[in-house]
């Protein structure tokens, strides 16, 4: 893989096809954990980790088990089981090693299992027919894109606490309007392709 294609794939994953602002994958934690920037950073890093490891494991299982045995229809079930176990493992790890982050993430940590982004990237790797290195790279970079999005969003939301807006929009609605403005900004990256 040339440096050019790595850069191109990364840019596509982070900006042009940003998981949150373009593909709508990973919205639940995006809206749920973005009230404070430090929790957002923690969540972002956890998601990058889970996405990268989940993609590598699902790729290997897919290539060497599902495809060989012609069991492609079992992809959804197998992939989600792998992701669920992985998240369980991450939870135990954080509980023992970084208890403060574990507490801060709270209920949203097991919810990484149902994070569309993790299953989404595993399925996209199959649809796009990436090889192992491309899959891992794509997963990692999409996670980075997710993290950038969630950090941007949470910094804006922290400021929103002091803003004056119609009461009807309190909570999610104003967050969604904010997200739409960020999404318009990201539209500027459409068609960006260097190589």
């Amino acid at each position: 893989m040339t440096f050019a294609s790595i850069l191109s794939l990364s840019l596509a994953a982070i900006l042009v096809q940003n998981f949150i602002f373009v593909k709508f994958l990973g919205i639940c934690p995006f809206l749920g954990v973005s009230k404070k920037t430090d929790t957002a950073v923690g969540m972002g890093l956890a998601v990058i980790f889970v996405m990268t490891v989940a993609s590598s494991v699902t790729y290997i299982v897919n290539e060497f088990v599902l495809v060989k045995l012609d069991l492609m229809y079992m992809q959804t079930v197998v992939f989600i089981l792998i992701i669920a176990s992985l998240v369980q493992f991450v939870e135990l790890f954080l509980m023992k090693m970084i208890p403060s982050l574990y507490k801060a993430l709270g209920i949203y940590l097991p919810l990484i299992t149902t994070n569309c982004a993790v299953l989404g990237v595993a399925l996209l790797n199959v649809t796009n027919q990436y090889n192992f290195i491309e899959s891992v790279l794509y997963a990692c970079m999409s996670g980075v894109g997710f993290t950038i999005a969630i950090i941007l969003f949470s910094s804006v939301r922290e400021h929103l606490e002091y803003a004056n807006y119609p009461k009807a929009f309190e909570g999610f609605p104003i967050a969604l309007i904010t997200a739409s403005l960020l999404s318009i900004a990201f539209m500027g990256f459409q068609g960006l392709s260097i190589f």
Binding site: Y73, M74, V77, N128, Q190, G191, S193
Partner: protein
């Protein structure tokens, strides 16, 4: 049920097995229908591009970008060209193209069997009027923004540059592969 390791593992295992059995069964029921639908789409597109011909799949391993290649033989037994099925990376997802190339290496027609681009913009690529501009072209295609000045110009859809580029690139790949297959270079 109690939370003993034995109970936990066996219940999870039984559920997994039951689900796998159900899926195996449904897959068995639907496999053939799904394959037929996919093939029917391709056959219909090919018959639309090169009418009055029969199509026979040929080995396309020499052309890695091509998914499938079919040799077309007209009802009178002559070589009617080649049909190529390939995927091109669009804005949102892959666009699946069927490109028909005549025996004289000009494009007979382009059809799209799978497109999921932005409604109102990229989705316009599936408009027969836009696709018809590929017909009769040969050699190296040139995507332009405004209007056609040279023979090999293809006018992009305004506001859907990525989709237009994807389709044009796909057609070019098909054209090159077909020209190579039909022999004698471009």
């Amino acid at each position: 049920m109690k939370n003993t390791p034995v109970a936990m593992i066996s219940v999870l295992a039984i559920i997994c097995l039951a689900v796998s059995a159900l899926l195996g069964f449904v897959n068995f029921l639907t496999e053939d229908t799904i394959a037929e639908i996919a093939e029917a789409k391709v056959q219909a597109a090919m018959a639309d591009i090169i009418p009055n011909a029969t199509f026979e799949q040929v080995d396309a391993t020499a052309y890695p970008a091509v998914t499938k290649m079919y040799k077309a033989t007209s009802t009178s037994g002559e070589n009617a060209g080649v049909c190529v099925q390939l995927s091109s990376s669009g804005f949102a997802a892959d666009i699946v193209l069927i490109v028909g190339i005549n025996a004289d290496k000009t494009i007979a027609g382009v059809r799209i069997t799978s497109i999921n681009e932005t409604a109102g913009l990229g989705s316009k690529a599936n408009d027969p009027a836009w696709l018809s501009q590929f017909e009769g072209l040969t050699g190296t295609l040139n995507l332009v923004k405004n209007s056609k000045t040279a023979d090999n110009d293809v006018v992009a859809i305004s506001g859907a540059t990525v989709t237009s580029t994807a389709v044009t690139k796909g057609v070019q790949t098909a054209l090159d592969a077909a020209a190579d297959y039909l022999g004698g270079g471009k």
